[in-house]
């Protein structure tokens, strides 16, 4: 059902939790299956220094959250904004067709967090 990579991220999710005094916070909900994902950012010099997530969702949702944090960490905000759902899914070696919508959550939550940061800093 899930690839080994999905299961690895699910088993050992990277960057789980909250960031106190986060510079940007993004929360998105999946109207489709009722899941929620939250991403916290710490930004320095336009670079994502730290990132954490919290997810209420299926295995794919948790794995894509974990993967997107790993992919975004160390990137500039502009680079991070270029991450797409498809790239996250590909990073995980693919997702079952019924689970593709879960990967939308991850990239969307990251975008929301970056936008929140930009709004707070008038960028």
């Amino acid at each position: 059902m899930y690839t080994e990579k999905v299961m690895d991220h699910f088993r050992n999710p990277r960057n789980v939790g909250e960031l106190e005094n986060a510079d940007g916070v993004g929360e998105v909900g999946n109207a489709k299956c009722g899941d929620i994902m939250k991403i916290y950012l710490k930004v320095e010099n336009g670079i994502i220094q730290d990132i954490k997530f919290q997810t209420f969702g299926c295995g794919a949702a948790i794995a894509t959250s974990s993967a997107v944090t790993e992919m975004a960490k160390g990137k500039t905000l502009d680079e991070a904004l270029k991450l797409t759902n498809k790239m996250v899914a590909e990073e995980l070696g693919g997702l079952p067709p019924a689970k593709m919508h879960c990967s939308n959550l991850a990239a969307d939550a990251l975008k929301a967090a970056i936008e929140d940061y930009k709004k707070k800093h008038n960028l």
Partner: protein, 385 residues
């Protein structure tokens, strides 16, 4: 790693004695029971014996009231479409409940699209159907009431005798899906008074791919598929001979060993009590009026599929009513009908015990599940802490 199978409501392993009975029917007793030669006749006799065993298992008066099918799903479809076909000139109103298995619910809804009228009886927060609602829903043109004997997700046992009482006054047929009850609580068609009843072998330590519809003698029903003369033309197609033989044996064993259900219920209660000690965990389904093997809890702030995968990594096989496990986008229609919010329904966990479940299995679950819940809650944006 310990492997603990707690998904007996999904399916059960075949009992060794059942498999042993089946084995000769693959390579030696392979004749087609419709054939009139010795190879066929010797098999036809054994099919009749299996039919008798299944009939006895539900206390049917005549073996001929048992029609073998390919499973519970087909038996449900046959009951509903078969009665609708036979009685459509008498009336076009059918009553079911909101918590039926999809084999019943979707079949009824498809009839609705074809011009039948459908009333769905609601349930209370324990999952019990509203008998008053049912009483007032009955009409002169009602031809069938189909209400399950016990629900597969939450285990609540329905008052089928009361349903039959309401129906009989008006001469309405009653069908009940007893897939989850047969073998677990007494299923006695005389006592229940139903006209049609569905059972499935793979839920009672019999093989997958065989079930049966009980049709009380005199009940009007038509076959819904076409072919040879098997099952008195109500269900044509070469019989799944080893399956039927296995079903007969499984039915026999499960009434002989009925006592074990008391012990299963004791372990169930221990598991329920232990799980309810976790914060923000709620039992779904009726506390006492439930299947001996069924535990269903909602665990707030976490999602069912993630929970199942985590438990699986610890060797525990369970099930959930979460949308994420179902392929559909809504969580379990049963939990929603009982008044749970989408979010709470998402975090449901079903653990169903079987005859081989041990005290150690339960202790293992009560050790592992709280840890897993804690870990997942830490990841959740919803959690209180």
């Amino acid at each position: 790693m310990r492997r603990v199978y707690l998904d007996h409501a999904a399916t059960t392993p075949v009992h060794p004695q059942v498999l042993e009975k089946m084995l000769p029917f693959f390579k030696e007793l392979y004749g087609n029971p419709s054939s009139i030669h010795q190879f066929g006749r010797e098999v036809a006799i054994e099919i009749d014996k299996a039919r008798e065993k299944v009939a006895k298992g539900i206390n049917a008066q005549f073996p001929e009231e048992i029609f073998f099918t390919s499973g519970g799903t087909e038996a449900d479809n046959l009951a509903i479409f078969g009665v609708a076909k036979a009685l459509k000139d008498k009336g076009k109103h059918i009553i079911t409940s909101v918590i039926e298995h999809h084999a019943v619910l979707d079949a009824c809804e498809s009839l609705e699209k074809e011009g039948f009228e459908l009333t769905k009886v609601p349930v209370d927060s324990d999952g019990l159907i509203d008998l008053e609602f049912l009483k007032s829903a009955v009409r002169d043109d009602t031809i069938l009431i189909t209400i399950m004997h016990a629900n597969n997700e939450v285990g609540t046992i329905q008052p089928i005798k009361e349903v039959v009482k309401i129906a009989k006054e008006k001469g309405i047929y009653v069908h009940t899906d007893a897939v989850q009850t047969f073998g677990n609580i007494p299923v006695d068609v005389q006592e229940l008074g139903v006209d049609l009843l569905t059972i499935s072998a793979h839920k009672i330590y019999g093989p997958k791919g065989v079930g049966a519809l009980y049709v009380r003698k005199g009940t009007k029903i038509k076959g819904i598929s076409y072919g040879g003369g098997q099952e008195r033309k109500i269900r044509p197609g070469t019989e799944n001979v080893p399956g039927i033989i296995g079903f007969g044996e499984a039915a026999k064993i499960c009434i002989e060993t009925f006592e074990k259900n008391k012990e299963i219920a004791r372990l169930r209660d221990k598991l329920i009590d232990g799980l309810l000690k976790i914060e923000d965990v709620k039992l779904n389904g009726h506390r006492t009026n439930r299947l001996p093997g069924n535990v269903n809890v909602s665990i707030e702030y976490i999602e069912g599929e993630a929970l199942l995968l985590s438990l699986d990594m610890e060797g525990i096989a369970a099930s959930s009513g979460s949308a994420c496990t179902s392929g559909s986008l809504d969580p379990s229609h049963v939990l929603l009908a009982m008044g749970l919010s989408h979010q709470t329904a998402h975090g449901s966990l079903r653990l169903t015990l079987g005859k081989d479940t041990t005290e150690e299995d339960i202790d293992y679950c009560l050790k592992v599940i709280p840890e897993v819940v804690e870990r997942l809650r830490k990841m959740s944006p919803l959690s209180r802490n």
